[in-house]
């Protein structure tokens, strides 16, 4: 049940049909051999003859009018090959398509700033030179005449009368708003014994900072007008939809290629502006161009996570801790551009009630633009913010009503027997046993000994606190949810593609539409294929990486939003089953029997009743590919199968904002023990347990690795990581000195466990996973609040709690307490 790495029992998909094989086993990763030898191929490892290096000139101002850009001195510098400016971009391209309905729809977003710069680090021009160093030098010779404008750095002030308006075309900084209401709020508040009011909570700005920054090597084929973009963009399907229309070309002109990607976590979805700049330069200069983002540039400009304020929250609750409903206003800070936004304005709704049974919910989502880096998906995208809010509400309610957070959770958790559970907004939680997960986590951490641990800490002058984070990792998007943002959009459903073929010497070759960044797709796809074809995982060749010219590519191809185990493996399974049928059909023709008489085992197609009558895979491959004369004319066998997995979705009801937004719901329950030094606010996470349920696990070790990684990132976000701006809009944490990600010495002892609730909605019982839900952030917040209880009972109101904030809570608990009140009805 809760052992970490013991081999599980063979997977049982349907109880009557025990299935033995690679699925469910810790098969060693196929990717490792090249990666541990430094033989991976990341985009920056690729070279082309005569390639030039791109360096972007970036705005030093958070908000400024661009009066002029003069590149003449840079062009005179030896080694400089060319430049690109906003004026050129405005002629050569159209603004990027906007997802938003008006007024956000009116934004004019180009790959370089045109006329105005809106955040520090925004690319204003680009220089190409023969070396990285020369390009960087020459970029300093580009003269930009700026007229600084007042900067807007606090989302809460975006609607003030005197706030600078970022985008004149929109006429307001409130670029998108949606009021969501389900159930009967009046009834809920009538029924309530108490109303808990929380004036303001803040979810901080950070991101996952993958170790490899963004970049690309872009080639233009003048004869065919096609670009090859060797890049680490993790969602080429989205990039193509954004880039093609902007560049006025069909998406077939854009070939995206990747092999290995050095981490993504959502942060590599919105590199399309820079990729467009590189495409324009490759065409203009008639040579390959290479762009490698510097770490400082990444921090300044790329894919910050959504910062969100929750204001005027009211929670309807019974005296026994039964939660009835809540209303709140979420003010979401999108930064300067809507590069993937306002999708965050609906994605949170995948997990509207969190893990809880409350049915009456109202949330007014206001998204505003500010003079900060644009936000984009970040591991746990938009659900993490909302789940942090619901978890904070649960713990504040328990705290203020004097109830046990464990009991409040158990009282309000959706129960295992209620699954599949339809949420107030029509999402269907597929399966899960949250109470069992909580018990497992409490067992792992030794919750029974809490009081003795508190006493021990106290004897050392420390305050011990315990905190729980229980979250969901919703996976496999129904892109129809975008219509709740903009009813005009023609997106719905989802898809992913795989091809599986048997080649001439019997090679099994698999291509995927995905763009893995460490998620081990080559390994897990091999497990699924080998089980169906009755061969060894070593016999399965999964091509590394992604190539949009492989024909294993559809509109939503990519690796994002916790879905591979459902969409990617669903496509692999579908294609492999097609291939298996064809192999049986071919063997039956050759061996003179019915296809049903053939089985695939031990690398052969053989008669079930007579194993001597067998064709090795090599013979099947050779017959179809190179020796096919005399085969029946109507034999429909290619041994090259393509399958598009399409999850069962309907478009949601736009009027009611109602419908199933994601297919699967992996769950996490984390528990943290922290010890705080009351003199300084310095604290340490002294023990930690993480329990995950992602349904059937194809490779438990890989799943556990994702759980560990998500935990580490959550702990980093909870403790030290923050993109903090000064009032002029300068980012104060533009590198790994100031932006402190966890190091090995920062990690607490970790115990992991799992519960396995097979999804009834997926063919293998799997659920998408990997994002985690940011459970660690909640666990740390709750543990700090528990630890500080005896010191004036402060309220933890921010997701980010570096030592100085804890010290502030210790030294002035009253000001935090003013955020919360409890009123009887």
């Amino acid at each position: 049940m809760s052992e970490t790495t013991t081999l599980p029992e063979p997977v049982v998909v349907e109880e009557a049909e025990p299935k033995r094989g690679y699925a469910g086993q810790n098969v060693p990763r196929k990717e490792d051999k090249r990666l541990v030898q430094g033989e991976g191929v990341f985009f920056d490892d690729v070279r082309r003859h005569n390639m030039g290096y791109v360096h972007f000139v970036r705005s030093p101002y958070a908000h400024a009018k661009i009066r002029s850009v003069d590149v003449s001195k840079a062009l005179e510098h030896p080694g400089v090959l060319g430049t690109l400016t906003g004026d050129e971009v405005a002629l050569l391209t159209d603004p990027f398509f906007q997802i938003s309905s008006p007024p956000g729809a009116h934004l004019k977003d180009y790959c370089l700033a045109v006329g105005r710069a809106r955040f520090v680090g925004e690319p204003v021009a680009a220089v190409v030179a023969t070396t990285r160093e020369t390009a960087r030098d020459a970029s300093e010779l580009v003269e930009v005449d700026y007229e600084p404008l007042p900067a807007l750095t606090d989302a809460r002030q975006a609607l003030a009368d005197d706030a600078p308006v970022l985008h004149d075309e929109a006429g307001t900084n409130l670029t998108w708003e949606g009021v969501y209401e389900w159930g009967d709020l009046d009834q809920a508040f009538d029924e309530a014994d108490r109303v808990v009011k929380i004036s303001e909570l803040h979810f901080d700005r950070f991101n996952s900072t993958p170790l490899e920054c963004n970049g690309a090597l872009v080639e233009f084929n003048r004869g065919t007008s096609q670009w090859t973009i060797i890049t680490n963009n993790q969602f080429p399907g989205f990039a193509a939809i954004m880039m093609g229309p902007a560049m006025r070309v069909g998406i077939d002109k854009l070939r995206f290629v990747t092999q290995d990607i050095g981490g993504g976590f959502g942060n590599k979805i919105t590199s399309h502006p820079q990729l467009v700049a590189c495409c324009l330069l490759a065409r203009k200069l008639n040579r390959p161009v290479q762009w490698t983002e510097w770490r400082t540039d990444f921090h300044l400009s790329m894919s910050h996570g959504n910062e969100r304020w929750f204001q005027d929250t009211e929670v309807a609750v019974k005296n026994d801790g039964t939660l009835l409903g809540f209303r709140t206003t979420a003010v979401d800070d999108a930064g300067a551009w809507l590069r993937y936004e306002p999708l965050g304005g609906v994605i949170w709704a995948q997990v509207t009630p969190g893990m809880y049974r409350w049915r009456h919910i109202r949330l007014d989502f206001k998204q505003v633009v500010t003079n900060k880096a644009p936000v984009s998906p970040n591991r746990g995208y938009s659900r993490m913010q909302h789940l942090w809010f619901t978890e904070r509400v649960i713990d504040i309610v328990a705290h203020e009503l004097g109830l046990d957070p464990v009991e409040v959770r158990k009282r309000n958790y959706i129960k295992a027997e209620e699954m599949p559970y339809e949420t107030p907004n029509g999402c269907v939680y597929d399966s899960g046993d949250y109470a069992k997960m909580l018990d497992t986590a409490l067992d792992l951490i030794g919750y029974d000994e809490l009081e003795s641990k508190r006493a021990d800490a106290e004897s050392r002058g420390r305050l011990l606190g315990v905190g729980i984070g229980s979250t969901l990792d919703s996976g496999t998007n129904n892109f129809g949810q975008s219509r709740l943002i903009n009813p005009e959009l023609q997106f719905s459903g989802n898809n992913e593609v795989a091809t599986v073929k048997l080649d001439i010497f019997g090679e099994i070759v698999v291509t995927l539409g995905t763009t893995p960044q460490g998620q081990s797709h080559e390994t897990t796809a091999s497990q699924v294929v080998a089980d169906i074809l009755g061969c060894s995982v070593d016999d399965v060749n999964v091509r590394a990486g992604h190539d949009s010219y492989w024909n294993s590519y559809a509109g939503f191809s990519g690796t994002y939003a916790s879905q591979f185990a459902v969409t990617g493996l669903g496509a692999v399974k579908g294609a492999t089953e097609m291939l298996a049928e064809q192999m049986k059909k071919l063997a039956s023709v050759v061996l003179g029997c019915a296809p049903e008489d053939i089985e695939l085992a031990e690398g052969q197609a053989r008669m079930r009743e007579n194993h001597e009558a067998a064709l090795p895979f090599m013979a099947l491959g050779a017959i179809i590919n190179a020796n096919n004369a005399g085969l029946p004319e109507d034999l429909d066998v290619t041994l090259n199968c393509r399958y598009v997995y399409r999850p069962p979705f309907d478009p949601p009801d736009v009027e009611r904002k109602y419908g199933n937004l994601t297919l699967t719901y992996a769950a996490q329950v984390h528990v943290a023990f922290v010890e705080v030094d009351p003199e300084t606010g310095v604290y340490e996470i002294v023990d930690y347990a993480a329990v995950d349920d992602c349904g059937v696990r194809i490779n438990p070790q890989i799943v556990e690795g994702q759980v560990m990684g998500a935990t580490a990132q959550a702990l980093g976000a909870a403790t030290h990581e923050t993109f903090t701006y000064d009032e002029d809009g300068n980012l104060l944490t533009p590198n790994f000195y100031d932006y402190h990600v966890p190091h090995a010495l920062d990690m607490p002892p970790l115990k992991t466990g799992y519960v396995e609730s097979a999804s009834p909605f997926t063919s293998m019982g799997t659920k998408g996973m990997g994002e985690g839900g940011g459970a660690g952030i909640h666990a740390v917040c709750a543990a700090l609040q528990d630890a500080l209880r005896s010191r004036g009972n402060p309220i933890v109101y921010d997701s980010s709690n570096p030592y100085h904030r804890v010290w502030e809570l210790l030294s002035d608990p009253a000001s935090s307490r003013r955020r919360v009140s409890v009123e009887p009805r």
């Binding site: 541990v36 030898q37 991976g40 490892d45 170790l211 050095g262 981490g263 990684g709």
Partner: protein
């Protein structure tokens, strides 16, 4: 901008993983860019521009260094070991094998530097404690694993038992 610095260059000779290379390089070129761009040894990576991340870690005359913190010219006449030199005759070293066995890598971007830091540790301390291991890799950032499995792998590579 007052002007562009005068570019000077110098011939640098290094031995990397047993092979001697001689190249003329700009004086300002970083060792990591020399290894990657001039010698095409792309196993060592760049993850930051401030010396924090350790993805570029190599051994220089036996000492662990971050190769983004040195100029190529400072490595003249040095012996350098990089990740490409760890395996012998296609056979993974025990450390490399342990990284795979214990799932100590996901995207693999930090792995080359992590392996070099661990290699340096194991030469100094053949049976390191968990604390020694975490100290030895504290200069290497990994964003995928949370380090737990890396610590386990290094310990296992040293022949010590690790909890499963």
């Amino acid at each position: 901008m007052a002007g562009i610095p005068v570019v000077t260059s110098q011939v640098v000779s290094v031995e990397v993983n047993g092979t001697t290379y001689e190249r003329e390089v700009e004086a300002r070129r970083l060792l990591i860019h020399f290894l990657r761009d001039d010698l095409d040894l792309t196993g060592s990576h760049v993850g930051c521009d401030t010396g924090n991340c350790g993805a570029c870690s190599v051994l220089l005359d036996g000492t662990l260094v971050k190769s983004c913190m040195l100029l190529a010219v400072q490595a003249d006449r040095a012996t350098i070991e990089t990740v490409e030199g760890l395996a012998e005759d296609e056979q993974l070293s025990p450390l490399q094998q342990a990284f795979s066995d214990h799932h100590a890598l996901q995207c693999g971007y930090c792995t080359p530097g992590m392996l070099m830091s661990a290699t340096a540790l194991l030469r100094e301390s053949p049976r390191p404690s968990d604390e020694e291991i975490t100290k030895a890799i504290q200069g290497n950032i990994c964003r995928c694993t949370g380090y737990w499995n890396i610590v386990k792998a290094v310990k296992a590579a040293s022949g010590q038992e690790v909890a499963e």
